[in-house]
């Protein structure tokens, strides 16, 4: 018994050193040497200022000011979509809790609240996009535009979602629709191995590319 106890304690400490210290340090070393960009999160910087990460979805919205102060509602700043940019998917992540926290929305399939949430998002989407795409109806809205992403920071939208938003972005930026659609195509990623997953449009990269085309032309 005593012998087993001694071996157990040594073994737990030994494995902790091997699996908890040596192994992660080795992987960190390899990652930082061979893939430094990836290992540090594919950061996007403009003039030395960190804009975000290509892999982490962000909101392309403006803060709303009232009497010179940021308007707040329930401890969250009120925002409105910036029409010059493609918009990301709805998120269940609640920045008021903790800035870095990611959360599931956990909307149940048969809950009335879920339906009401969808209806509100549908109305907001139509209000934003329909003025520029008159033929748009509820049934034509792709699900990714209304359904919450899992991580809350999904960096991608579907192609169908991007094609609808392209009407607005092109109009607001005074660009030909074909040019915006060409950019969408450029930032569309294919399926993994040719079959795994769905094609994705990376919203941050697409918006950055648009700014390179006409950054100055603010509305």
């Amino acid at each position: 018994m005593k012998k087993i106890a001694i071996t157990s304690v040594i073994a737990v400490l030994g494995f902790t050193l091997l699996c908890g210290v040596v192994y992660p340090l080795l992987i960190t070393g390899i990652g930082q040497l061979v893939f430094p960009g990836n290992a540090n999160g594919q950061q996007v910087k403009i003039d030395g200022k960190l804009i975000g990460s290509k892999l982490i979805g962000q909101q392309f919205t403006n803060l709303v000011y009232k009497n010179g102060k940021v308007e707040m509602s329930d401890g969250e700043p009120v925002t409105t979509p910036n029409k010059r940019y493609f918009q990301t998917r709805p998120s269940g992540t609640d920045p008021a809790d903790n800035d870095a926290a990611t959360e599931f929305a956990n909307l149940g399939p048969n809950d009335l609240v879920t339906k009401q949430t969808f209806t509100m998002r549908i109305q907001a989407y139509l209000a934003l996009e329909k003025p520029y795409d008159p033929g748009l109806t509820v049934a034509k809205i792709p699900v990714d535009a209304i359904n919450t992403s899992a991580s809350g920071v999904d960096p991608d939208i579907s192609q169908a979602n991007a094609w609808i938003q392209a009407h607005r972005v092109a109009a607001v930026r005074h660009l030909p629709l074909s040019e915006v659609k060409a950019l969408i195509k450029k930032y569309t990623g294919g399926r993994g191995l040719g079959f795994s997953g769905e094609p994705t449009v990376n919203v941050l990269q697409l918006n950055l590319a648009l700014d390179r085309v006409n950054a100055k032309d603010a509305p």
Binding site: I4, T7, S8, A11, V12, L13, F15, T16, C19, V21, Y23, L26, I27, T28, V34, F35, N38, A39, N40, Q42, Q43, I56, Q58, N62, Y85, G92, D97, N98, D99, A101, T102, E103, F104, A105, N106, L107, G108, P109, N110, D111, V113, K115, V138, P142, V143, N147, T148, S149, A150, S151, D154, S158, A160, A162, G189, R191, G192, S196, G197, E198
Partner: protein, 591 residues
């Protein structure tokens, strides 16, 4: 449903089988003292470790000695892990706690320690808002390796018991655990972690980033950390505890459609490989194929139902007027709580892969799955981890079912049941049934306790929303009993009021019931499996006769599936009816 969705599912099955068969041969070499490629490098390291551990790897252990080593080793691991979690701020000097997170309260730490020790990885906390990099590496990652190792060595010991021709020895626990970590888990983890980083997973020790965003409302904090190293072993060891709260849905854990496919493969590679190893170690490869066939039939059934249900969409979507069919440029389906890059097939398949095993990693919100789609993880858990199951756990659990099926088959033909020439007698069957009943018993008892008491209600997020609150509670205790760790994530045992984690507190009832349940439902079956192994080890092998029931043909596979489904259905059907099935059969919206 899309063509690519079906290619993903069937392509996965083919690639997995093609990889698992040769890997099984490698595993057999590791556990029977055969030669492997790694011998020249790892051999000296292995011998050094035995010297440091002060143990003789060649000393055979009977089942009691083997079990004693395993239990005391686990106890030591539990204590060290608990201490690490409770002294989180003490380790700030390492620089690995950039946000100066405080330790989680004692009750949440108790639950977390029990959870990672038992290969469950149930998480009441969010990784990026509670744990330092030090705790994640030195605490969680280590137990990801060791809990996986413990599961595997129990399976190996049971296989030795079945295969042994004489003596009571099941092998040596210390040799088995060292060889598992050294020859199996570490090499696979290193390769997998590097693949993940090459695709975009992060691996660093820098503090969280503050990003300004392109627009004024776009500023955000981005959590960092040594993610890839933990992600690799989290999947390989069927652990499943995410570095981040949203687990494998988080782009830093699972950046692309390719990594999603890769992650599913590394979840199943060891459980599937062990089945092929089994066939080799008992000297009848067809025995392994029969078990593999049984698992695969049930696996495919689960995936197909789940994919169809999720592609159809949810009642809430339809009530809101959304079109959930495939259109040009969008895969449609129930995309609530799912990531665009994985799509419906990649989410449904991932969900089934991680709930048939004890992995419990998620790349989508199970709580938001449709009634029938969400019933699939329930059904998988009800089958008590025998459809591939956790690393090791799956093999020893299904072998217990095999013994039960042999016994029932024997009763039907009126002959003394035999398995691989060994008589299955009253003692083995009693131990087998006890081993199989502990998990369901723990799950149902804890669920009943939680749903019948006011203390249990504190954890439910959908209070009063029809069957969803019951589903949440049931899933929580079913998942913890099966050492799975996936969740209907609305169920909580930890309240974090605001930024940082000062002032957070645990829900003692949920933390303690869950923690005790996990330990009970892990070590109970392990002890019974080892006892069965010990009982079989000494038995004489009689040659197969004309009347011997074969255990390597289709008839036996059908019988085995029947027994598994029957036991699962009889135990869990009433409870399943009250939750997911009600939701799946009605389009009703509950308020």
């Amino acid at each position: 449903m899309t063509f690519y969705g079906w290619v993903t599912i069937f392509g996965f099955v083919i690639i997995l089988t093609a990889l698992a068969a040769p890997f099984g041969r490698y595993l057999a070499a590791v556990y029977t003292g055969g030669h492997t490629w790694f011998d020249p490098v790892l051999g000296p390291v292995e011998r050094l470790i035995y010297r440091v551990f002060r143990t003789d790897p060649n000393e055979g252990q009977d089942w009691k000695h083997y079990a004693k080593s395993l239990i005391i080793f686990s106890l030591a691991g539990w204590l060290l892990f608990y201490i690490i979690l409770r002294t989180q701020t003490f380790w700030d000097w390492t620089g690995l706690n950039p946000l100066h997170y405080h330790s989680m309260p004692w009750n949440v730490s108790f639950n977390t320690t029990s959870s990672f020790l038992t290969n469950t990885n149930w998480q009441y906390y969010g990784g990026e808002t509670s744990l330092s990099y030090f705790s994640q590496m030195v605490g969680l990652t280590v137990q990801n390796f060791l809990s996986a190792g413990v599961g595997i060595v129990v399976a190996v010991a049971l296989v030795r018991g079945i295969a042994s021709r004489s003596g009571a020895s099941l092998g040596n626990f210390w040799q088995d655990i060292v060889r598992t970590v050294l020859y199996v888990l570490i090499p696979l983890s290193i390769v997998s972690a590097i693949v993940l980083i090459s695709q975009g997973s992060i691996q660093n020790f820098t503090t969280y980033l503050t990003a300004h965003g392109l627009t004024s409302g776009g500023s955000q904090t981005i959590a960092m950390g040594p993610v890839a190293s933990q992600e690799a072993i989290k999947l390989l060891g069927t652990n499943g505890g995410g570095f981040f709260n949203t687990n494998s849905a988080h782009p830093f854990e699972n950046p692309t459609g390719f990594t999603n496919f890769f992650e599913m493969l590394i979840v199943l590679i060891i459980p599937a490989g062990l089945v092929f190893m089994y066939g080799r170690m008992v000297g009848h490869k067809r025995q392994g194929y029969a078990i593999y066939g049984t698992m695969m039939v049930m696996f495919l059934g689960a995936v197909i139902v789940c994919y169809i249900a999720e592609a159809h969409g949810s009642p809430a979507q339809h009530a809101a007027g959304l079109h959930t069919g495939v259109i040009h440029g969008s895969g449609g389906g129930n995309l609530e709580g799912k990531e665009q890059r994985f799509g419906i097939a990649g989410s449904a398949l991932f969900d089934v892969v991680t709930t048939v095993t004890s992995c419990g990693a998620v790349n989508s919100a199970i709580e938001s799955f449709t009634g029938i789609g969400g019933a699939i993880p329930f059904a998988n858990l009800s089958a008590s981890e025998v459809i591939f199951g956790g690393v090791g756990t799956g093999l020893y659990s299904i072998l217990l079912y095999v013994l039960l099926a042999v016994f029932i088959g024997g009763l039907m033909v009126g002959r003394t049941p035999e398995y691989l020439g060994k008589k299955i007698e009253a003692r083995e069957i009693k131990l087998t049934v006890l081993g199989l009943l502990i998990t369901p018993l723990a799950a149902l008892f804890a669920t009943a306790l939680a749903t019948a008491s006011a203390a249990g209600r504190a954890s439910i997020s959908s209070v009063g929303v029809g069957p969803q609150g019951f589903s949440e509670s049931f899933y929580a205790y079913l998942s913890q009993a099966n050492n799975n760790g996936s969740a209907f994530a609305g169920y909580t045992g930890f309240i974090q009021p605001n930024a940082g984690n000062l002032g957070s507190h645990g829900v003692t009832f949920a933390d303690l019931v869950g923690g005790v349940e996990m330990v009970f439902a892990r070590y109970g079956p392990i002890l019974f499996a080892l006892a069965v192994a010990g009982s079989l080890a000494g038995k004489r092998v009689s040659p197969a006769g004309l009347g011997t029931m074969r255990t390597d043909n289709v008839t036996f596979v059908v019988l085995l599936i029947g027994v598994i489904v029957l036991v699962g259905a009889l135990t869990f059907f009433p409870a399943l009816l009250l939750g997911p099935i009600v939701q799946g059969l009605t389009g009703h919206l509950y308020s």
